[in-house]
Symmetry: D3
């Protein structure tokens, strides 16, 4: 089970300009083969399916902790897409003004027809994420090798999307993911090291470029975010600390395992898009809620 | 973001017998168009994408709360599948004994080849779950109508899987889901009522059969589980209580909104399946962890 | 079985200009999840699969009648796409002039490679329509709820495509579909009302915007086309009139059930596109047909 | 546009026994790459997309006529599947008796979970029909060649499904389709002959076996059904007779072109399956309809 | 089994300019339904699956020979795509310069994210090639008819891509494929003629336009490349010469069967794209290889 | 380009009994995500797409050599499937005897309907192989890591299929693939070692079980087949020997690089299946070929 926190792991700046095509490109990091849906679901299913946990519980706890973090990643990529799409068409209630004309030439028309200028679990070509992206063989060494490869592939995708999009919202988000995905790369490499004794971390970085040339990533590393693994749990998964320890393979600073979640930030308010009837509800009378809220002692204001 | 809890919402009995084909049928409730992956991901994306939250926050909070519960549902369906598959082939390390012979005629060969006799995000025909199953139009009334329909369709699927499989693990799980899915049916019906004034709950039950003839569901209803909506959050989503209140449409008992998660149960231990090298790791020396655990004050025993 | 009528339900104006990207956007209304292929096939399969028809025949007849109309809808959307694509590349027989250069940057290259600048059963991203879009549970209440939701979702898609495309061909067609789709929304809402007694029509309009701000739709409503349900049969499906009656939920005018098809219009002639060898047949000698036609008393002129 | 006729082109015998796996195999003839959905949709889209009709109208009319017939083919295959599935599980309203136990080992679990023991647009492996199966190049010669190949491939599939299933419902249906599909094979071969002068009909039969060894087909041929092409229209498509004439390539009897539809038969009543809540509606009071029917002069009895 | 030759069948000129959208269009000829992946895989599987070879070996040998050639076709299309994508973004190692900005509006973002500006087995819309494109019925006449149709469809696609793209690399490649695909069209037509006696070659050309108006094709025909079928084997498939003989159906020149492969050309060097870390390996010390090469007598220079 | 050799790399024994379900399971090794289609196509595309070859040519040559071998692997898996399906239904020309009755309950009905009891590029659930399985990032380190993981995953699949199927044809084939796939595992591990200096081979075996307990694999290892890498080329790819050298990581014997192909064996004759019209051609007169063969000096006997 999970407890939700209505917060994002970072504060997302507003985009300079709405950009449907930037949003479309960023979708690769959400619903692509190497997107956050894939990392989330791979580790989630591997955790459910983990056989013979006792002796190997530190590995189970590591996979569970990382799975927990990935949820925040689908969230932060989705909000980035949503911000890039906010204001991307003409606001208003009159359909004859062709308010969605921008959508015709846009790379992802689903953003204008299926969703209300918002994120969908699809990739940069609009192809849906699929369960075929989940690998869960049950063999720990093979699953860890998969995860190590998956994170490296995901890292390549992040770097390339960064190079495509110069918007500050997208770059802040990608910088953050490069750092946190970098933690996961190291975590699975360390897990393989613990399991086999082979110095897998020496293969890093894959691809060959480090995170240093990405200023937005560097900022997070200056705050030591590349050194910390979070359990994303109040009480569980503490044995992950048996794997996440020792020096960081790239800068030698000490790795740190932390119970709980990354400190969070209120998610951005997404403005209404009346030309999409999103959210609609013009006839709805909030006073009904206000009255009831007062009676029930619930905080509600409109 | 989320915090994970290493617990299931119910205690799952052991199956009477392993049954790959029962497991294959239950997959529909996980990765089918109306499976728990779909409910989880629909509400998750709708929550990320919700525009103009202020006035409509009770609806946002409701969707978020239900999204939080659905995670536990993919978990409990996955564990059911895993239990049904545990012991479903001949245990041992000698491949010449054809230990996986059972798998040849089984309905889902992925369970034996791709996974280690464990769950995958696929449906009862082995077709993968896909992001095409996510509906997120941004129009609140339409999204709520979708969710109401989705939950009714999911209810039909649950009833039919129940009628296919008489194993106690599966039936306990489905009984639970019928009750909790029933809560979500009512929740979305109530949300539509609050938004429009139309008495949508009077359409229930859909399909026409109530939960009463399902003894495993009745047991949970005797514990009033059909009356309670949980926020699945420590601090957030409290305005969902402005929608979830009043009498239950079927038995008239008072609906109750509860902060936090459903009280949980330790998930079952999944036995090793050595013929699948799941989890493998025979050469791994746990003493290394034991020593380190002692030094770091972490609880580890093997 | 069916009898075909070589006519469209409306007269389609010629586009102001060819526009491949407008055509690509309109494809969503043909082959999208909420396109006319989906409405056609959902009701068609539900009609084949309807169990226990006797007592419930008015519902069967209603579904059959609407299924009949949907065929004309895939037709009119296809012709709209075909008109938007006619003349969209350089006409002529010399391939070295790069006559299809326009196609390279177009949103849907299939229009230039797979088809002869004409419609395909794909959506606005070029993804094919799939049988997964058909819902046919066999439970009448659930199927009707599905259909009601499907039509509302389809309505949202139509409104959004209208807002994307200002071409008169497309807008005339969408205006027509908004009105006729509106009839189907009301029809399924009425059917649920008859079955359950709940005032489902009060939920309308979904999404929140009515058809009034769409001038092309208003024109059809001025002709009372939003009030009439057609049986699309010479002799059958007459009991649909037991559901389609009473006042229209939005303007209170009396609903009217009509035997037969909507009065039709000759479909537009689609010009040749020689650079695509569409239709080719330059060597074919029509005189052979002319001679034979004369002998057989068949009307043929070239 | 179309007019529907609530009749099947043949009278379907009842199956000897319900058989889910026979039904699953027959699905290939409905939703397979060479199934009736494919023939229907190929000719339908080719007809919408036909450029430069004037000189080539006999070809247009031929394609339209055959498209018209194919609708009756998806219908008759669907009813065959429905009859094979009727009674395929235990009837009753008590879910605890595991009434759908049969479904667990069945080849197509969608028949028991997604549909109410009824047809779906999927193939014999449960994979959905897809718009990728539609070929519409706009070049007449190529489209006709495609159609000729498609019908030959469809014929091979029909022969093989016949050889898999000995049920009289299925065999009657396949026998009928072999004869009518045989008409379409000849029709497209003749069309190619008219267009090019090449004696394409001499390639027949493809595959090498004729329809003679199929007794159910022979019965229809005894009634000369292999000689007749129907326009499936009241007023249109008459120029198809310019192609469909002369002697049949296999037995030399004269081909005959007929205006209108094949004489029809009332479709079978599909019994209720209460364990699937199909159709449900137990609470529905038909007297309401009866009263209204009386008032409106509509024929309704329950 | 195969032996590889590190050569292309033609010399590819460099493109005038990099062009991601031209590359995207050319993908249809690689991974489209009628692309070279399809021809390669159809004939490959048909050859593996060929039953009763003895009497029919000339047909087997023909299919094998053509299958052998198709490998070179996926190769030459891939290199064309690679050349069109080389230099299509800004070279350099600094991600902050947004070197991949071009990719955002490009038709195929996979070229920039998934691949290193290089070919993928997808079509012009980025949809992946699929095994559903393989037809292998086992009936020789039907398989040959399929292959004949497939080659005609492929020819139409080639002509249309030629008309879309005026780049010399692409046009040289398409000109070559038109000629060689033309050989395959004739080969399958001849095979049908041998098998049935029907003059299938008289149907040509399909589509109606010959290869003559394509100057790049004409150049290859001047070298008689349209007359020669190669066995693509050192020792096998010689009986294909029993089918490939006689006069060419379009110009009457004698067909010629040749043992072995088409004379080849060194493939172009693909430049590094450092902004994609393609190929990376900056830290790799080639001296290690140089030393070892010297010792082992292997030719290696850097 | 390639030259084909009409030989298999091993001699395949005949199956003890035909077995459609064993054949269906073996399909995973052909068309599954980790099947031979995937290894073949991954390395093939990586070789086409390899940028900056000069310094890194040994890696290019290694990938090309392995790509060459994989073609023989799709061949040997296909023949295994074909042998398992030969005789799997009742032979004869009378369809009324229901000769394909076996197919109804079989796991893969495509084997009986789409193919002539022969292989298709699909997996063990009948899902088609897809181009999404190809990874080609252009970054050498990442591509090699992918290939290493892919081969380990493929190895797990082979081991599991071995454990499912005790037929000697299948086991001989899988034993062979385990050895040769094992060569590829080591080859990519060695390549990573050469590129990075990290002792990746020490991770082996993955999964944890070695090839020793597989008697059919052991037999090939006794012939030192686990030590030899073949160039699968007459003249090219010789620099692969700079990577493939030194001791084998498991038994310390010296690795050996060999120019050319593995010594081959005549593929088995696949018997006719007349009930499938495979191959048909009963009317074909081979004397025509015999006469021509004599005249042309070609070896043809029937």
């Amino acid at each position: 089970m999970i407890l939700k926190i209505d917060q994002l792991p970072i504060e997302l700046p507003k985009p300079n300009n709405p950009s449907p095509n930037n949003a479309a490109a960023v979708q690769e990091l959400l619903g692509g083969k190497f997107g956050e849906m894939s990392t989330l679901m791979n580790y989630t299913y591997q955790s459910f399916n983990f056989r013979g946990r006792k002796k190997l519980r530190p590995f189970y706890d590591l996979i569970c902790s990382i799975a927990g973090e990935e949820y925040g990643h689908i969230e932060v990529v989705s909000y980035t897409i949503n911000l890039l799409l906010t204001g991307a068409s003409k606001r208003g209630m009159d359909p004859t003004t062709t308010p969605l004309a921008n959508g015709v030439d846009a790379r992802n028309t689903y953003h204008f027809i299926a969703s209300g200028q918002s994120a969908l679990p699809v990739d940069s070509m609009g192809n849906p994420w699929t369960g075929q992206n989940v690998f869960s063989s049950g063999n720990l060494k093979l699953d860890l090798l998969h995860n190590f490869f998956l994170e490296c592939g995901a890292r390549a995708n992040k770097m390339r999307v960064y190079e495509m999009v110069d918007d500050p919202t997208a770059r802040t988000m990608v910088g953050y993911l490069l750092v946190r995905g970098g933690v996961h790369v190291v975590a699975y490499a360390r897990a393989l090291e613990k399991l086999t004794g082979v110095q897998v971390t020496k293969l890093l970085p894959i691809p060959d470029l480090s995170n240093d040339p990405f200023p937005e990533a560097r900022k997070f590393m200056d705050n030591k975010l590349h050194l910390k693994l979070y359990s994303f749990s109040q009480d569980d998964y503490k044995q992950a600390g048996l794997i996440w320890n020792g020096p960081h393979p790239e800068d030698g600073q000490p790795l740190e395992f932390i119970h709980g979640a990354i400190p969070g930030h209120t998610p951005p308010d997404l403005e209404e898009e009346p030309q999409l009837n999103a959210p609609g509800g013009e006839d709805f009378d909030p006073q009904m809620f206000a009255d009831m809220a007062k009676k029930m002692g619930i905080n509600y204001a409109y």
